[in-house]
């Protein structure tokens, strides 16, 4: 396969992209991960993975132990859900979801004892375990892409037989401004990340493993490098450029290969996983721990003490805000995820999900208003677009509802990374336009 030939030397970067001047990382990059205390109540959303939502197996009044199954996988593209602590199911009902709507969730009132279940999975020796065994373990632990995508990890580890995978890539770029959770993870628990990478490589039967880390995290690169040799992992420092952590851009930076238009990483012979996902895989395999907690950056200038916290899945964001010292200035925007691709929330009650890499608060002065002022054809969006689209002209087509033309001009390739809107001096809402066109085109294709 021609696409699979690496083109040396590695680009270590990709064409296009932007360099946010104020990346906000200094708020938390020096803050070591602190384990959050046990809270009274957890709200675990049932659907936390892309694909089929898992099927509930508990009912109100049930007592559960930490790690007990709350819901079981309901198909291949689906993962089970586990109890973050021991306690009683006090309700099953609607809770504020990450997309602003109400979503079904399990309310778990903690009993404060935090007792492990008796059915805990046994540790596996990954060096001798069968690939199938490892994949099953990854699924049973409920692991999904923790960088934001929430795509079930075991599915990525089971490519169709006609796709030849020869490289596993760990995404440690953490190119989103403000977020430092992955940075701290790589710095504090490098071994977990590396083991997770090796496990996934074994599951896929490949030997080529890369970790791409943006060069603004030299300490993490050093730490990983100390141990990387032991696991056959190559640590590669990448140019600081947004969106370096986007799969297609990362693959190009590390291997020189391009994912064909409309294709997936496996079409370029690669599987890309986030470093946090790798650490979760390590926990699942080495200690039999399902995915019930994660490291989340809780940050923003309104907070008194922003930091990185090890939090249970289902922790309401309000608890984290309190944990970060509360606010000293009124926040006007609450974002789950990073500032470039995260989602604005309407409630502090929204719980942390498996893919919540960050909780970001913005003050009134930091909030950008996009309006539909005219495009002045400056071309800044073109130069920022990592997919080589022409966001400005595209947005004008979309404003005039010329969706066919937009499709011809490859709007479907848009990553919604926001680089264009970030750079647009006319403050045009370019990402909204792209989203609208993509939705509209998908709708028409279905008809």
């Amino acid at each position: 396969m021609a696409a699979n030939k690496p083109i040396p030397p590695k680009p270590l970067s990709f064409p296009g992209g932007i360099h946010p001047a104020k990346d906000g990382k200094s708020l938390t990059e020096k803050k070591a991960v602190v384990a959050a205390p046990l809270f009274d109540r957890y709200v675990v959303q049932i659907s936390q993975n892309v694909g089929a939502p898992p099927k509930l197996v508990v009912k109100v009044g049930d007592a559960v132990k930490k790690g007990d199954l709350l819901a079981e996988a309901s198909g291949f593209v689906s993962v089970p859900l586990h109890a973050p602590t021991s306690g009683v199911i006090s309700a099953v009902g609607d809770a504020p979801g990450p997309m602003g709507t109400l979503v079904p969730a399990v309310y778990l009132d903690a009993d404060g004892r935090d007792e492990w279940t008796a059915n805990r999975m046994a540790p596996l020796d990954w060096r001798t375990a069968e690939p199938a065994e490892l994949k099953n373990r990854v699924r049973d632990a409920g692991i999904v892409g923790m960088g934001g995508a929430a795509f079930p990890t075991h599915v990525k580890l089971s490519p169709p037989p006609d796709k030849k995978i020869d490289t596993v890539i760990l995404n440690g770029a953490e190119c989103e401004p403000y977020l430092t959770a992955d940075h701290r993870l790589m710095l504090e628990q490098p071994e977990k990340v590396l083991v997770g990478a090796a496990v996934m490589a074994r599951a896929l039967g490949v030997e080529n493993i890369f970790i791409g880390v943006e060069k603004n995290k030299p300490d993490a690169i050093d730490k990983l490098n100390e141990l990387a040799g032991k696991y056959g992992v190559k640590v590669v420092g990448l140019k600081v450029q947004y969106p370096q952590g986007s799969e297609k851009q990362l693959i190009y930076a590390l291997t020189g290969r391009c994912v064909p238009e409309g294709g997936l990483p496996m079409d370029a012979g690669c599987v890309v996983q986030n470093v946090a996902t790798a650490a979760a895989v390590c926990d699942a395999v080495e200690s039999g721990v399902p995915l019930i907690e994660r490291i989340t950056t809780v940050t923003g200038t309104p907070l008194a003490a922003p930091g990185n916290f090890l939090v249970r899945i289902g922790t309401p964001v309000i608890r984290l805000v309190e944990l970060a010292g509360g606010v000293t200035e009124e926040p006007r925007k609450l974002i789950l995820g990073g500032p470039m691709m995260g989602f604005a929330q309407r409630s502090f009650e929204v719980p942390v999900a498996k893919n919540s890499s960050g909780v970001l608060l913005l003050a009134a002065s930091e909030i950008v208003q996009y309006d539909s002022a005219g495009c002045m054809r400056c071309g800044m969006c073109l130069r920022g677009c990592p997919m080589h689209l022409s966001p400005g002209p595209l947005s004008m087509l979309i404003e005039n509802e010329k969706f066919d033309l937009a499709a011809q001009n490859h709007v479907m390739d848009c990553l919604e990374c926001g680089a264009c809107a970030y750079a647009c001096p006319a403050h045009r809402p370019l990402v909204q336009h792209m989203r609208r066109a993509k939705a509209e085109i998908r709708k028409r294709a279905k008809k």
Binding site: G326, P339, R346, L360
Partner: protein, 352 residues
């Protein structure tokens, strides 16, 4: 802990702003860009006032004011809000137009120019972003064609008047002098090409560099234009490909012609330092609205500007060709951009 952390209230659901990502912005705006370009032009404007005296300051202020007034009147007549005036684009157009006018342009020409630029050059097309041609250049060329006398009456600089080496009939621009020398010199008498010698002395070059020569108000001082132009390039407010390729093309083209036919045209350095090349290359060809958006498009656009400039200067009936070349290439921008549009990252040609 309750909802009141540190005595600051957490907003309730309705008070949280919901909007789509990205949630942060470069903090650049159209107004900021325009203001920065205006600041970058101030050295050139100051040089103009220094060399040509106070009337030049009058031309600048009047042209600028009439552009802003023209835009305001247009909005008023169209019953539109006046807020877009705040983007300062009209003021920038006014300043650029002023720098392209002779230093002693009559007041009514300045006012007419301002209205031409904003009304004919910009608003009839739909305002900022929709105009295919650089508005200041539209006005400049329209004036040049309609009122050639007013637009080609050059003033001596304060210094040149005292100790000019040139005793030609008028205090023409260096390019004008070169054109005159070319037509008056007998073709056989000056086969060695030294007919331009007096225009290309070290002294003359020094004067071109600092701006001590006849010409349009803001085009004379290479020094001042370079300061502003390079600052804009460093701030990435103009696409660096445009000035570089434009200037290099003029240099190579005119240099080659001079090399093979010295009597045809003065040396390359003379071409680079005189006329409106630097003003045009740094500040007019780079106009965001009317230059290509694609990187390779910029290269082609600037190359075209350079070639047309030289062709007009060497073979045309006007001594200067920068304005015409930019306007002509402006017309081709949509075509160039289409040609140079990149394929999407990872594009694969569909197999038939």
């Amino acid at each position: 802990m309750s909802e009141n952390c540190n005595n600051v209230k957490l907003p309730s659901g309705d008070e949280l702003i919901l909007s789509s990502s990205p949630h942060i912005h470069d903090n650049q705006s159209v107004r900021k860009i325009m203001l920065k370009v205006i600041v970058a032009l101030l050295p050139a404007a100051a040089a103009g006032v220094f060399f040509f005296g106070l009337p030049a300051a009058g031309v600048i202020l009047l042209t600028l004011a009439s552009c802003v007034a023209a835009e305001a009147i247009w909005f008023f007549l169209a019953k539109r809000p006046l807020s877009p005036l705040g983007d300062c684009s009209a003021a920038l157009t006014g300043l650029i137009l002023a720098l392209n006018l002779p230093p002693a342009t009559p007041w009514w020409v300045c006012v007419l120019g301002g209205f031409l630029a904003i009304w004919v050059g910009k608003q009839v097309f739909g305002g900022l972003g929709h105009n295919p041609f650089n508005p200041a250049l539209v006005a400049r060329v329209a004036l040049l064609i309609a009122l050639p006398a007013a637009l080609t009456t050059w003033t001596p600089t304060g210094i040149e008047a005292a100790d000019s080496e040139f005793e030609l009939s008028t205090y023409a621009t260096p390019l004008g002098k070169a054109a005159m020398l070319k037509t008056t010199a007998t073709p056989h008498g000056s086969a060695h090409g030294d007919i331009y010698a007096e225009l290309a002395t070290d002294d003359a070059y020094w004067n071109y560099f600092i701006g001590n020569r006849g010409g349009s108000l803001g085009e004379t001082s290479c020094l001042a234009l370079l300061i502003g132009g390079i600052a804009l390039m460093l701030m990435k407010l103009i696409k660096w490909q445009i000035p570089l390729v434009f200037i290099a093309t003029v240099g190579v083209f005119s240099g080659a012609v001079h090399f093979f036919a010295p009597a045809m045209t003065p040396p390359a350095l003379f071409h680079l330092m005189t006329g409106g090349l630097l003003l045009g290359a740094f500040f007019m060809a780079t106009d965001m609205v009317t230059s290509p958006m694609t990187t390779w498009g910029c290269v082609i656009f600037a190359f075209g500007c350079g070639v047309i400039t030289c062709v007009i200067r060497i073979w045309g009936s006007y001594p200067e060709g920068v304005s015409f070349s930019i306007l002509f290439m402006n017309a081709l921008v949509p075509l160039i951009d289409r040609m140079c549009q990149l394929r999407p990252f990872g594009y694969v040609r569909k197999k038939a």
